[in-house]
Symmetry: C2
Subunit: 475 residues, 2 copies
């Protein structure tokens, strides 16, 4: 399939220029004014063409619980999340489709799914998500979420003797699973990659990290993990290692240009230097960091230190959406209150660069996609500049990033294949998806979490919060 | 016109119940299961009914500059805004229509427009906005923005001798204008009210405030102003009054249950007590506070002190949208990073209450609208719970507030009159609006502000920011 986008606006230094763009097979083959037509013609007039963004951290199956977990910090929120996590691979399929659809409709052409696995059906979960992403046509980085310690181990002890039950599976079993997943599903040429993705220092042994590094080296896999999302995790790292989590991850060799780390809220200046030295990427998830009260990640400091930063929606039980444009907007303007010098603030053009090229760098694929250049993969998004939310005409990128664009994407392609056409998702029926989500759920506003009730008193004590009477508790 | 909404979900303590709702003329006349049908039937099944929200602070004509002003603090941003402000009342009409449309499409049924007046055409500006709001059918509180000092007076002197030119109009002329506006346009029964709205302490004399208070008392008008949006304004208040802006406004009698104050970012604990004592309302504009780097308003402290808080989008050159649901989401979750005790965080239900009843309280109209009660005005919004962005079924209000709802409103009414029907704005053509906005604007990403260039060095010096070379400047 070849096609030519005619008379389209693309960014150019501080302004814009009107060009034609030729695509042959999966690549951009020419960008210039007045090109000869190759293949199908797409009318790009009054439209803005940008490289697709990367939704660089999410957990697709959280879609089943979006909107329902009350405002609470990560350590309590996750107890409720896991208590009610879906257990049917068909649900994992639908939430992958939903995640892909919402990501595409808001400018993303790649998604990193730190995929929560159904116990006992781990490979089936991965297969279901992979099928969902292939059906929609989004570029997918599936990062099976693995751990080898029990959830309760993620809360600092505060010096108390605390016993945790052992995790349901051994470290070896987790690594074997990962290897099988790589063999079955890792197909970079087809737009599906497996990543090694221990959940983070809070629930993973050094042996699990070591096994992941080994697999990453053997198969050239990208690496992903959560990092210092909460103050509790910072305390835990000190308890566990006697040093910061970042120093520990550097010592064991997990940090690299192939490594992207979600959140990075509680890093200190030395940690930031290590991130820069190891050329690791920070995935900024501003909305979940606010929703869970985790804190404001020091993104302006990262940028000043030369650390690559990309954006993620995070799972939609902690956001509770997969609107990538919203994550980019908030991930940009949030930091204006952290530095009085506005010359350091993220501009809309910088935000676009972070979301596209920054996302690709974090996946070690900036040579492949993330920019409008001849030879790059055709992961492209066309924004209709006649949409009310992008009017009046001012600065298209300024309004795209700082406004609240609604239904603005007319066409999009991944790997040269069309995924949005005339404002509609091409390859799956959104109505069918909505119908199935409706049928397979029920309004349940009074849900109570037993797991939160069990954890809450200890969490409050360790974090120095006052004791509460039971009727006040967040559940 | 009478109508009956059948089988609709409404909130009930911590859950929901299914009821019918009868509306006769402009009022809710019954809420109960299985009511007899009166007038037209509206099928409310799988829909959520909420009272309309209040967009409690905006400046409609900023729509013409949304997306174009680069990231910069209020004092520089406003210099650019005023340099390029639209000068044609027909533009004021279109931006009022656009503001009303975007507010309605995101759950608002009332708007407070702190309306920037075109010099020399002040009454024509008010007339144009009033016509726009009447055409769309939204409940409008038009607050003509008045001042009697030059823009440069809004920046603290830092102890230097600074001369400001005198303002284009006298204090008396501003007050006369306001009185004429009241006589011509103040029609509470028809859903259009005029408010007294000096822009704020930074650009207004005590005489102007006194005149506004007198008009407010004489005509029973609500009062509105900006308050301590930036650190610079806090410094300025000390220079001007030798006390805090809040103490001064209390002394001169501006604070009252009829007074709503936009921003309130830089209040101290004593100021908060005064806000509570005077029963003044804080209008929280989280998005512009971030966009302009103004700071995070201490909203949790206000709530704990018993101060009423509502939400505003602020003008769309500082946001850059009028998506009220986005303002409510961000205005809720932003504060989770300001207090580790999650029991203080704003829940989705509390956010709905702040946006509806809180908005009405701030306009001294809680007896009239802002809640689902028999006898209240029928300012009502129906949310379609089969929309993808409100699925799967979990907790409808949780997902409405914490998610990113897109095109979810099926029907809405103001004063019992329909303003949205089958997901479409009823009374104006959105396509025509978009067409006119397109025609009357041009892409202009390289615009430079002479006013910012003039102001920047002084601003940086007063705020203790390092001097910059000209080529680094934000413009």
């Amino acid at each position: 399939m070849s096609f030519t986008i005619q008379n389209v606006l693309i960014p150019d230094d501080q302004g814009y220029k009107t060009v034609d763009v030729q695509i042959q097979a999966d690549r951009i083959t020419a960008i210039a004014p007045n090109l000869p037509v190759i293949g199908t013609v797409i009318d790009g007039s009054h439209q803005l063409l940008l490289p697709g963004f990367v939704n660089a951290h999410t957990h697709s199956s959280e879609m089943w619980q979006r909107g329902i977990i009350p405002p609470s910090p990560l350590e309590l929120w996750i107890a409720e999340l896991y208590e009610f996590t879906p257990l049917d691979p068909e649900q994992a399929y639908l939430s992958a489709v939903g995640t892909a659809v919402e990501t595409l409709m808001t400018g993303g052409t790649s998604v990193v799914d730190h995929l929560v696995l159904i116990p006992g059906q781990e490979l089936e979960t991965i297969a279901a998500a992979e099928r969902g992403y292939r059906d929609v046509g989004i570029r997918a980085f599936i990062a099976p979420l693995i751990q080898d310690e029990e959830l309760s181990a993620g809360i600092p002890t505060g010096g108390d003797e605390v016993k945790h039950s052992s995790y349901q599976a051994t470290t070896e079993a987790m690594l074997d699973l990962l290897q099988t997943a790589v063999e079955k599903f890792h197909r970079p040429d087809e737009g599906v990659e497996i990543m090694v993705a221990p959940t983070g220092i809070q629930l993973c042994s050094d042996a699990l990290f070591a096994g992941c590094i080994e697999l990453s080296d053997r198969y050239n896999l990208n690496r992903h993990a959560h990092l210092l999302e909460t103050k509790a995790q910072k305390l835990l790292a000190q308890e566990k290692y006697g040093c910061s989590a970042v120093q520990h991850l550097q010592e064991i060799g997990f940090l690299s240009p192939k490594t992207s780390l979600a959140h990075c809220v509680w890093l200190d200046d030395r940690d930031i230097e290590i991130m820069a030295e190891t050329r690791s990427t920070v995935v900024h998830n501003p909305l979940s960091n606010l929703r869970l009260g985790s804190g404001i990640a020091p993104i302006l400091k990262y940028r000043q230190a030369g650390v690559n930063v990309s954006f993620g929606c995070d799972g939609s039980a902690s956001n509770d959406s997969q609107d990538l444009l919203e994550a980019i907007k908030m991930g940009s303007i949030l930091h204006n209150v952290t530095d009085f010098d506005y010359l350091h603030w993220i501009t809309p053009r910088q935000a676009v660069e972070m979301a596209s090229r920054g996302g690709a760098i974090g996946l070690n694929r900036a040579d492949q996609f993330g920019s409008l250049e001849v030879g790059k993969k055709a992961d492209l998004v066309l924004y209709n500049l006649k949409s009310l939310s992008l009017l009046p005409r001012t600065d298209p990128i300024g309004l795209l990033i700082l406004g609240r664009p609604v239904s603005v994407i007319s066409h999009a392609w991944v790997n040269g294949k069309q995924v949005i056409s005339d404002h509609e998702i091409c390859n799956v029926s959104v109505n069918d998806l909505a119908g199935k989500l409706f049928e397979q759920s029920e309004w349940n506003p009074k849900r109570k979490s037993a797991a939160v009730a069990q954890t809450e008193a200890r969490y409050r004590s360790v974090m120095g919060l006052p004791e509460i009477a039971i009727e006040q508790s967040s559940t």
